[in-house]
């Protein structure tokens, strides 16, 4: 099979690629065989150096050396040549083969003259040879070999021409190459190609594709790249060039593609460049995906905007969301939705708007599609919950409230029902609130915020029996319910922030805390009223004193007293009065206290403003910053802003070490961002300190890791 490897290169395969001669991908370690010198014409470098497969023949007795470089001796050089093949090629219009056959016969029969007109009909061809060539032309190499065997049996002197033998061998090598490639026997593909370089031409570009794949799959990526480069340099068929680039994109990494893309002619690869940009942006959204090149993002954005390609626009939207640029994300989602209004685009827009703290707009964008599928329904309910929970509380229109209620009931969403409860409570409808909290508990019996809300509402309605009943049934499970009304319990905001659970973002627990704390003064007042003024002595703060009735210094003392009673809302006003002092120490103390009060109310932004009202000692700055950032992190987490929660925790870490509860919050944030490995690591570390709340997180993270791996 190998003996004609070099001579075959001279056969006129009528293609520019063969004239181009050298493809730059050799097969190492191979040398040009000594056994196959070219019989005529000047030596021509082959795309592949031929190889003698010496390794399999060591120690084996060969009957004859297989060193035949020339075509086998012809039947006889003395008689008249058989012009059958010559005429056959002429009839087929195969001028290259025709010329070769003329040269071959001339070499054998120096006195022979080729027919002036090889198409004349006076010649009677050997039909058996015509039949063999017909079989070869039809690609039936098995049939051709059988026919040659029959011809030999009938005519023992018959020897097929080198051209015939080589053509069959080349065809068979091509079949083997395809079969080996189909069966993923890539070493064999390379070996076949190395021994049959005539297969590697622009006219059989499929062979080159298969060889390139085999190189790449056997670790020779550069050679694979060279093969594609060879095609793009030498071959001209536009469809094949395009397909070549597509295949390269499938098999090579991005850097290897750059030199291939440079071989582009007349912008033929524009759609592919766009596809590459699309892939790069999409890949960035994968777990641990690399960031795309700016050029790619720009190219995709430009094309998507120009073409109004909703799918690409959405991809860009999610990409921007992923890198925490919700404003840009909103722009893309809006463009997508205006190109083709769809649930998919509305969903992305809703997510972006929620992140932009515009839940009402999110709710409006999502409303139409809220029943389309479970994914979009979840986003809708998050938006609805955030809409209800806006601070300061804003009234929601009848229409919107109507569809939120409808969705809540249709989906039996206990979290949303609970949120409706707090909404009603905020607008002084404790009876309605109580009913929503009851409904929420009916759907989810272990929903602590609903139980707490029920307690607060019942208390507002004066139903102490129910308050105590809730304390009895829930006290063991919830500290804040157990200590409801106990004035000394609320020593720091974080102590009443329940640790986040792996729940949807719409459980904005910080909201419940805030309401609870606003509730606290009322508790005190009620306690006060029932104590029949027994502790109303001077110097105390049990009796309400308008701030402006006090001196700044007096207001400061009063404010601290109110803080001791855990009445931060009132304390805010008294600290504010103290800020009027001319004394810098008093003002500093007042600013500090006012900031603390806001923190206790769960209002970190106001706290930050308050803290800036007067110079503070470094120690207090650290204390306030730590508390503010703790609150911000918790708030961010509770509205599903996990990236923001992490950023706040990172900022906080500059002021104070992270406690176990905040480490757990950090881990849950990672968990919700699907960064399960990081979540697992932290949960594991915290759980190892004996902090029980991390254990359930650890289980959840591990389960998610497993399911991510099993997909």
């Amino acid at each position: 099979m190998k003996r004609f490897a070099l001579t075959l290169c001279l056969i006129g395969i009528s293609l520019p690629a063969m004239a181009q001669a050298i493809a730059p991908f050799g097969v190492d370690p191979m040398t040009v065989s000594e056994t196959g010198p070219a019989p005529s014409a000047s030596p021509q470098p082959a795309p592949f150096a031929a190889e003698m497969p010496v390794q399999t023949e060591i120690g084996i007795t060969l009957p004859d050396p297989i060193l035949t470089a020339q075509a086998p001796p012809q039947t006889s050089a003395s008689g008249a040549p058989d012009e059958t093949a010559l005429r056959y090629f002429a009839q087929q219009g195969d001028t290259v083969r025709l010329q070769r056959e003329i040269e071959r016969l001339r070499a054998l029969y120096p006195n022979w003259q080729p027919p002036a007109d090889p198409l004349t009909t006076d010649f009677v061809p050997d039909q058996s040879i015509v039949r063999i060539w017909d079989l070869v032309t039809a690609g039936d190499y098995a049939g051709a070999r059988a026919a040659i065997a029959e011809k030999k049996a009938a005519d023992p002197g018959f020897v097929p021409t080198a051209d015939l033998t080589e053509t069959i061998e080349r065809g068979e090598a091509g079949t083997r190459l395809r079969a080996a490639s189909d069966a993923s026997q890539f070493d064999e593909v390379v070996s076949i190609a190395a021994n049959a370089p005539q297969l590697l031409t622009c006219s059989s570009v499929d062979n080159l594709w298969r060889l390139a794949e085999a190189f790449i799959k056997t670790g020779a990526q550069q050679r694979g790249s060279d093969a594609y480069s060879y095609i793009l340099t030498n071959c001209t068929d536009p469809g094949e060039r395009f397909a070549t680039m597509q295949k390269a994109i499938d098999l090579l990494d991005r850097t290897a593609l750059t030199p291939l893309l440079a071989l582009e002619k007349d912008g033929e690869f524009s759609p592919l460049r766009l596809d590459l940009a699309r892939r790069a942006v999409a890949a960035a959204l994968d777990e641990g995906g690399a960031a795309p090149a700016t050029d790619d993002v720009d190219l995709l954005a430009k094309a998507a905007m120009a073409d109004k390609n909703a799918e690409d626009l959405r991809l860009l939207g999610y990409f921007e969301l992923d890198r925490n640029r919700p404003t840009e994300a909103r722009r893309f989602f809006e463009a997508a939705n205006s190109a083709v209004p769809s649930a998919e685009s509305a969903q992305g827009l809703g997510v972006a708007l929620v992140q932009l703290n515009d839940p009402a707009a999110a709710e409006a964008a999502l409303a139409e599609y809220r029943d389309d599928n479970e994914d979009i329904a979840k986003v809708y309910r998050d938006a609805a919950a955030a809409t209800l929970a806006r601070e300061p509380r804003l009234a929601v229109s009848e229409t919107i409230l109507g569809r939120i209620v409808e969705t809540t009931i249709a989906t039996r969403d206990a979290g949303l029902a609970q949120e409706l409860g707090w909404y009603a409570y905020a607008f002084n409808q404790p009876q309605t609130a109580l009913e929503w909290f009851q409904t929420a508990l009916g759907w989810q019996a272990d929903l602590e915020p609903a139980a707490y809300g029920l307690m607060v509402s019942a208390n507002a309605l004066g139903d102490t029996a129910r308050v105590e009943e809730i304390r009895r049934t829930w006290g063991g499970r919830s500290v804040r319910i157990a200590q409801f009304g106990n004035l000394t319990s609320l020593t720091s905001p974080s102590s009443v922030v329940p640790l986040p659970k792996p729940r949807p973002a719409h459980l904005t627990q910080v909201q419940t805390v805030r309401v609870a704390q606003q509730q606290a003064p009322r508790q005190v007042q009620q306690a006060e009223a029932s104590s029949s003024g027994g502790r109303g002595g001077g110097g105390g703060c049990q009796t309400f004193r308008p701030p402006n009735s006090l001196s700044p210094g007096g207001a400061l003392s009063h404010a601290w007293c109110l803080m001791d009673l855990n009445r931060p809302a009132q304390a805010v006003d008294h600290f504010g009065r103290a800020l009027d002092s001319a004394n810098e120490a008093t003002r500093s103390d007042a600013a500090y206290g006012r900031a603390l009060a806001f923190i206790r109310l769960g209002l970190p932004d106001e706290a930050a403003v308050a803290a800036a009202a007067a110079p503070l000692s470094d120690k207090r700055v650290v204390e306030l910053q730590t508390a503010i950032l703790t609150l911000k992190a918790t708030s961010a987490y509770n509205i599903g802003e996990y990236q923001l929660a992490l950023a706040m925790l990172d900022a906080r870490a500059q002021y104070a070490a992270e406690r176990n509860d905040l480490l757990t919050l950090r881990a849950w944030s990672y968990y919700h961002l699907r960064r399960y490995a990081e979540a697992e690591r932290i949960f594991e570390a915290v759980a190892a300190t004996g902090y029980g709340d991390a254990v359930s997180g650890l289980d959840a993270a591990r389960a998610s890791l497993r399911s991510a791996q099993s997909q």
Partner: protein, 348 residues
């Protein structure tokens, strides 16, 4: 260029230089018509019309025995282009007409490779084609280096490159198929490759049969493990003698080996033919009952008693690819070596 097989244990198969082939053109044509496609694919008609390296190998051997160069070329073309695509130059074991790609499992089956190489050697002998010899030699060299394995300390044939090395359940010993000992090929391979002692492989095959003769069934299972001086059925395979093993007496007879090795197989047959045998009890499970198979039983009977084989088994019956293949191999053997079994005078 004619190369005669090295004789191992007495006069056995060679391709006669001038005599007419033992397989008649009519028989061979009916085999081609029934089981060989125009592309040269030898089709296992009883097995979803798939092909194997084994069927291609049998096709090549039979084409050479029938001295049909044309058919041989067809079958070889398919074998080489569609199955001999492994990186090591051996053949993938299975080709499925309805699968894409047709070769989905590139493991080899060593008996298929042995048959292909042997077919090439017979063709080289017959037609003096050196490339056939070269290709066979390369395959034999590869098999000798990659597919011989130590089984209980003896050189044995590994049934395939993947999946037969053995494990804890086999005490680390390889899983073997006794019917892969195509005895007539082994001395031929031995003469090709001075580095590999293929004759020792023959001895292992005979030792395997000796060990089996002391088991309850007296004959080996289709898939076995040799360990601790004994032989037993391979775990995870049916503990039975069946369609694989029925070739063993055929191969023993064709290689001219000691007829004593036939006796346990003959004892498990009856006048009705061969049976699947339960190795644990030695009891017959079901008949292996096509004319091709019955001729093997009748051949053993003739070797032992001199009684000619029944008339009706002397004509090829193309009932199934496998039975017809074994029948042709048996007819070739009887006509060439044991004319008395066909009621004929011994040839001079």
């Amino acid at each position: 260029m004619k190369r005669l097989a090295t004789l191992l244990l007495g006069g056995i198969m060679t391709v006669p230089a001038c005599a007419a082939p033992a397989i008649t053109p009519e028989e061979w044509q009916s085999y081609l018509d029934a089981f060989v496609s125009p592309e040269g694919r030898v089709i296992d008609t009883a097995n979803g019309n798939i092909s194997h390296s084994e069927s291609q190998g049998y096709g090549l051997v039979l084409a050479a025995l029938a001295e049909d160069r044309s058919g041989f070329e067809r079958i070889l073309n398919f074998t080489k282009t569609e199955l001999m695509i492994r990186d090591d130059g051996l053949a993938a074991w299975r080709w499925e007409p309805d699968a894409d790609p047709h070769v989905t499992d590139t493991n080899n089956a060593t008996d298929g490779d042995m048959l292909i190489a042997y077919g090439l050697l017979l063709a080289s002998d017959l037609w003096g084609e050196t490339t056939f010899f070269t290709e066979a030699a390369a395959m034999v060299a590869t098999m000798g280096r990659n597919l011989l394995v130590s089984a209980d300390g003896l050189p044995a044939i590994l049934p395939g490159t993947e999946g037969f090395a053995g494990n804890d359940a086999t005490a680390g010993q390889p899983i073997l198929n006794p019917s892969y000992w195509i005895f007539e090929t082994l001395p031929r391979f031995d003469s090709l490759d001075p580095v590999i002692d293929w004759n020792a492989v023959t001895e292992t095959g005979l030792e395997l049969l000796r060990r089996a003769s002391t088991t309850p069934a007296g004959i080996p299972g289709d898939w076995v493990v040799m360990a601790g001086g004994a032989i037993g059925p391979a775990p995870d395979f049916p503990a039975e003698f069946g369609y694989n093993g029925i070739r063993i007496p055929l191969y023993l007879m064709r290689a001219g080996l000691d007829p004593a090795f036939l006796e346990p197989f003959r004892a498990k047959a009856s006048s009705a033919g061969l049976f699947k045998i339960d190795l644990a009890t030695g009891n017959a499970m079901e008949p292996i009952d096509e004319p091709g198979y019955r001729l093997i039983q009748a051949g053993m009977e003739c070797v032992a008693t001199g009684q000619p084989v029944p008339e009706e088994l002397r004509t090829l019956q193309t009932t199934s690819y496998y039975a017809a293949t074994l029948q042709l191999l048996m007819l070739d053997h009887l006509r060439r070596q044991r004319p008395n079994c066909l009621g004929l005078e011994a040839q001079s």
